[in-house]
Amino acid sequence: MKSPLQTIAPDVIMHPLKQPKPESAELSPEMKLVREALFKHVGKPIPRKEDGRLITGKGRFSDDFSLPGQTYAAIVRSPYPHARILGIDKSEALASEGVLLVLTGEDILADDIKPIPHNPVPSTNFDMKLRAKDGSHAFTGPHYLLPSDKARHVGEAVAIVVAETAAQAADGAEKVVIDWEELPYVTDTAKAAAPGAPTIWDEVPDNVFIDTTFGDKEGTDAAFARADHVVKAEFHIQRVTGVTMEPRSSLGSYDPETGRYTLYAGSGGAVRQKNELSKVLGIEPKDLRVLSFDVGGNFGTRNRVYVEFGLVLWASAKIGRPVKYTATRSESFLTDYQGRDLVTKVELAIRKDGKFLAMRADNLSNVGGRAVSLSPLSKGSGLITGSYDIPYATLRARAVFSNTMCTQAYRSSGRPEVTYAIERLVELAADQLGFDKLELRRMNLIPPSAMPYTNAVGSVYDSGEYEKNMDRALELSGWATFDARKAEAATRGKLLGRGFANYVESSIGTPKERAEIEIKDDGNIEVVIGTQPSGQGHETSFAQVVADMIQVPVEKVWIVLGDTDIVSVGGGSHSGRSMRHAGTVMAMASAGLLAEGRKRAAELLGSTADRIDFEGGVFKLRNSNRTIDIFELGRRTRESHGPLRVVKDNEMHTPVFPNGAAVCEVEIDRDTGHVQIVRYTTIDDVGRCINPLIVHGQTHGGIAQGVGQAMWELCAIDQNSGQPLAGSFMDYGLPRSDTMPSFKCEIAEVISPTNPLGIKAGGEGGTTPALATVVNAVVDALSEFGVKDIQMPVTPANVWRAMNSGRKAS
């Protein structure tokens, strides 16, 4: 199909993508081996190696670390959504018992501590290019560890107090006296972008710092003019937060003898923390060691640097003692990087027979007080047309500052938002125009014959069998027998509803990854890798890849991660990148290791490498009975050749597009509006699946997180005070085991042509369609009340209101 991409106006930035060459086009002999690998362990549901350690309390989470002479930090936070700091009086705090140090934004400037270089604008060739309105590089708001001018959201750190004990630090923090000048504030997404809204940054008087239009405007306009029907909708995919089990924690220490800093802080990837924090402190990256071992949940919240991480390092150098800061759960609710918060206006142009002709979208992302990451806006921008063949589209993508905590990529960054928009819009179109909602989808799905498919905003979908996913999901869910269940539910006073959604998402992520593999003398294999699991089971699934390649039992393979003195390069874990990037580079490194092994074995056995076979972990001289086991080889050649070890770097740029479908059935209590999910079915094309047990587990978690947003979660803010209302579990609703049904999940493996292992990604696919699927089901259940749409979360109160008004709730 012809890409409708053209430049339409000077201020419109075109997507640079043409047809990418698959990176696996030329395979080295060793990479062929990767391809041909026996896949002995890969694909098997091996139980997670790490679980024994984690459930017996042997995990090493950040707060588990303590250093001699350690001190404790407490943070003074802004009680106001927007207020100028006229002055800060430290004296009472400094006089408080045990207090050693108080630092403020003035000290940051005095010590020339730099802002965190978040680099919020995604910049790979495959990311949508987001710019300011005039096409220039956007102003994203410097993120100093402590501001010296004003606080831009409730909870913003404005001072750090360090004391001998945590309680003394908290006492001291209460005694820091700040002279505030309250300023007008705005927290609501649409209002922040409306004319006359209070200005958050003087550099961007109207708060809208990104305003870019993508796609073929003329083509889109023409298609809309031609269309028989136009269906419009507006949605707010509300603000939520990650709610990790482990609150963020950091322990910083400075060694004056070596001039080196050390930071223990769980994150989404230690290497990024090291690189960015060294810039903050104005030191060489080598002078900062970051350790991040077990991480109790991330979901995106921990991918970016937190101010407290820099603060403990800076403070530790100032007092010459280690400084620890661990957030309380309340601080986490207030100041963990939050997610979503997109207002989207969408329009679909449809031909009489139901064919989609064109789409328009206007997406407005609320980044909070400053831009930490534009990943959600960018990722979503490339996928506005979803799983459908929509020849023309234009998208206006805007980002706005507001007096709220910063947002960041949150599980499946940007994709659930746009999936929600297109899947709800298709549903509304079917309803308004009298189409069957499944047939309307089916008629417009991208067929496998069109793969690789370039969508109307330039994303190239690598592979997928979308209609097959749809059929399978419907079959598994018992779609055909719904009516009988609905009738039965009605006898119990329950309204049964069903919802369906297709999805396609993208996985790009940091392109570089390095693997180091060493054959240890003790009969183990050590793999050093720069991703950072927070529950994804890398220690198992990564070991499976290496075990397959080197043909040894998976128990012998140990994954080492999370210490920047050992792991020098690493893209971290986000965007579903880990298995694809790490799996590929580990396979390549394994292949390299075998090549080296063959060479050494040849020397030892008095032959040439091309006559050495390798099987079952043993090198064998062809047509002889002379063999040597890989561990023995390592031992015997260590002295002469050094350790049997290989370091491999790999870069992969081509994105992959996991896809699938989900079906949800809800039962609504007619009298109260209480919603219970009774069935949930998914099909996920993850490309090659390394460990189905782990992928299923990730899918289950992903579903719960998506369902959580649809049903309960909301970072509510009181419009009359700008104060966050959901400061604890008393008010922030989460999914629980007894509010989730038993899921029916199936994995589809359409091998991706973009990488040697054929991997796409797993884990985010559970989340991506969940919001739309649940809301579609709820709206379906409420159809007899004339309900067409409902705002998330679909809490009982919202459902009751919708039933009563038959209009859009709240």
Binding site: S330, T672, W712, G733, T795, A797
Partner: protein, 271 residues
């Protein structure tokens, strides 16, 4: 949490005298209301007097017409008691519906009744089951005991010792939980006493805490059935309103939950 001194007296008199002779004291029972408050530095008692080792505050006694529960008795113990289940199944079901497993193994009936959280469960049972609250110094009828949000007839230093419930002819408890906190967002405890009189206590909803819904009682006195409540509504201006449930929705839920309590007499209905 601010620094505080912990005491664990073994007798009632020791506890009371500790209280009277300390600066800013507070009794502590299961701690599942008080400790979170301390941890977020919203309260700063200088002395915590743990009442759980005082023998008079523990134990369950079931007689022909009464269930008497010591104030330090945990929710899980009430929920698991066969005698209570046989005597007042709705009461044991109520106890078993509080919070989660951890909360039920720490929180106590005395702490809950002394605290009088407007969303707590026990106050509904205390009021509907025409209970008497026994303290270290007197007996207070339920009708006089609850005095508004987080307020009771307990005087400073007075220790809640036991709660004495009347065994009703039949009772039912229906609760609609807050989707986030799982506390009650509207719940009704309906009891028909052996003398025939009906009590309907509503918790989680009223803007002055637990209360008796006398209109519902009147209707149910004539006819103890859900149909008797048909068309009966409660004034939303008497209700609490928050982000989870505006007042009109709470008023609606009160009516629904009262009907469901009647439909589930002899047990509970938890949504």
């Amino acid at each position: 949490m601010y620094a505080t001194t912990y005491h664990k007296p073994k007798t009632l008199s020791e506890a009371v005298s500790l209280y009277e002779n300390s600066e800013e004291p507070s009794y502590l029972s299961g701690g599942h209301t008080l400790i979170p408050t301390l941890k977020s530095r919203l309260a700063a008692p200088q002395h915590l007097i743990d009442v759980r080792a005082i023998p008079e505050l523990s134990g369950i006694e079931v007689t022909a017409d009464k269930v008497i529960i010591g104030s330090a008795t945990k929710h899980a113990v009430v929920a698991a008691s066969r005698e209570i289940k046989a005597a007042i199944p709705a009461l044991s079901g109520l106890a078993g519906s509080i919070g989660d497993v951890q909360v039920r193994h720490m929180g106590t009936i005395g702490g809950s009744t002394a605290n009088n959280d407007p969303a707590a469960d026990y106050p509904a049972a205390v009021l509907a089951l025409d209970a008497v609250v026994h303290t270290d110094r007197r007996a207070i009828p339920a009708g006089d005991y609850f005095q508004g949000l987080y307020t009771t007839a307990l005087e400073p230093g007075e220790i809640l010792a036991r709660v004495e419930f009347k065994i009703p002819e039949i009772a039912g408890y229906a609760k609609f939980r807050n989707p986030a906190s799982r506390y009650s967002m509207a719940a009704a405890f309906v009891a028909r006493h052996r003398d025939g009189h009906i009590r309907v206590a509503i918790t989680g909803a009223g803007n002055e805490g637990v209360f008796r819904w006398t209109e519902a009682e009147e209707r149910l006195t004539e006819n103890l059935s859900a149909e008797a409540l048909e068309g009966l509504t409660i004034d939303p201006s008497l209700m609490m309103g928050d982000m989870h449930a505006p007042a009109d929705y709470r008023a609606h839920l009160v009516a629904v939950m009262t009907r469901r309590a009647v439909q589930n007499l002899g047990g509970t209905h938890i949504l």
